[in-house]
């Protein structure tokens, strides 16, 4: 039985909810604001892998906006867009690759990293003195707390995904 679009949408909403709930469980709090959470990106990534990029981007963007409402770190008008709706929306790109798990997750996560990186460049560009290499600082700053989280999510999605497919099959079989 093919599930209708409303229930896919609601499922996305609950994935956003799980992601937010997981984002409160911080397993490592970096001294400068960033933190490694208990795989809070995993629900969004899995959802995109299963339902395609369009739905994934929608779920990612609403997760980003929710983060903005709940725990805002606002330092620049453009940074708000780049760090929240866009960065998390780009996670949805992982749905582009029709269940090629590794490629999908890597692209999604790189998308998020790129958005944060760009926002960092803008931040350092407008607050730091001229002559500083904004790109290098931004890459270092974002890499420091994002990388561990990225690797963790990459592995977790990989581990969970196949059980997920099996679950889907069982559910379709049941319904």
């Amino acid at each position: 039985m093919k599930r209708n679009s409303l229930s896919t949408l609601i499922e996305g909403a609950l994935m956003v909810g799980i992601a937010t709930a997981l984002s409160f469980v911080k397993i490592f709090q970096a001294p400068y604001g960033g933190s490694v959470t208990l795989g809070s990106m995993v629900p969004i990534l899995l959802y995109s892998l299963r339902n395609g990029a369009a739905k994934g981007i929608l779920a990612g963007a609403s997760y980003g906006l929710l983060q903005l409402i709940i725990e805002p770190y606002i330092v620049h008008p453009v940074q708000v867009i780049l760090d929240y709706p866009l960065a998390f929306g780009l996670l949805g790109l992982s749905g582009l690759f029709n269940k090629k798990v590794w490629t999908g997750i890597t692209v999604g996560i790189l998308g998020r990293f790129f958005s944060h990186f760009l926002s960092g460049v803008i931040f350092f560009g407008s607050y730091a003195p001229e002559g500083m290499n904004a790109a290098v600082y931004s890459a270092l700053y974002n890499g420091a707390y994002l990388l561990p989280e990225l690797v963790l999510s990459l592995l977790a999605v990989r581990f969970v995904f196949y059980r997920f497919i099996k679950m889907d099959e069982e559910r379709n079989y049941l319904s």
């Binding site: 409303l6 609950l14 909810g17 779920a59 609403s62 906006l65 770190y73 969970v160």
Partner: protein, 265 residues
């Protein structure tokens, strides 16, 4: 059930609390952009007065507003130190190879002030507006863009449902974590591969129950004839009042002040 508060909202019934969320979002955005227009210390008088007035009207103490600075303290310090040491000019003090210049001190203080005003000013939005009404505001502001394909209603609907279920899902996460820990699961040690593996017994049950809930919820919504955003009415409609008009006028005066400080003086 234990009440879990999400977000930073402090309930109240002040003028600022009562303002339409759209008004507050738009004003906050204008405030952010205008801060970047100001280019000397005298200009900061305007945002200072603006924030002080808003804070007095909202009844939220400065202490709460300053609390938002704590997580960004390192960024603020970094900004100050970078400017302090890296700008060339008249030397005030030398420490080894580093020298503090007059210009660096000026620029550093200027940047830090901008950052602090920005953080404190924007925190007023989340302090005085509940997440749900912020979501309603976002939906209504994005509506014009739905013509070019932005799914404003779906976005807001997802956020609203997520907000409703976050406390439930947090409780569930907590329960599953404890249950698995009682069976010997370890979420906080080992290398990164181990940690990712340890997430599996947490995520799988969480997802399964979310799937069930999603199906039930979708069925419940459909049996109540939910058909998406078109022609949908609301229990609480957003309405602009005279207070909103006053807020926009005040922001207009503030904007004029900022622009004047940059281009006239």
């Amino acid at each position: 059930m234990r009440e879990i508060t999400i977000g930073q909202y402090i309930p109240g019934n002040s003028v600022i609390h009562r303002l339409d969320p759209r008004t507050k979002i738009l004003i906050t955005f204008a405030f952010m952009v205008l801060l970047f227009v100001i280019d000397d210390f005298a200009g900061y008088a305007f945002p200072l007065i603006f924030i002080a007035a808003a804070s007095l009207l909202s009844g939220i103490s400065i202490k709460y507003m300053l609390r938002g600075l704590r997580p960004l303290l390192i960024i603020i310090l970094l900004t100050f130190v970078l400017n302090l040491f890296m700008i060339k000019g008249r030397v005030i003090y030398e420490v080894g190879p580093l020298s503090i210049t007059y210009e660096g001190l000026y620029q550093g203080t200027f940047m830090v002030l901008r950052l602090v005003l920005l953080i404190v000013g924007t925190s007023l939005l989340t302090l005085t507006t509940s997440p749900i009404s912020l979501t309603d505001g976002i939906e209504s502001l994005l509506k014009p863009f739905s013509k070019v394909g932005v799914p404003a209603h779906e976005l807001a609907m997802m956020m609203t449902i997520a907000l409703r279920f976050i406390p439930t899902l947090m409780e569930e996460t907590d329960k599953i974590m404890k249950a698995q820990m009682a069976r010997g699961a370890d979420f906080s040690s080992g290398n990164i591969v181990k940690r990712a593996q340890s997430l599996v017994p947490l995520l799988v049950p969480l997802f399964i129950s979310a799937f069930r809930r999603a199906d039930d919820l979708a069925m419940a919504m459909e049996s109540r004839c939910y058909r998406g955003g078109e022609n949908r009415t609301r229990m609480k409609t957003l309405k602009m009042t005279r207070e909103d008009l006053f807020a926009f006028v005040a922001t207009g005066i503030f904007a004029a002040g900022c622009l004047a400080s940059r281009f006239l003086w």
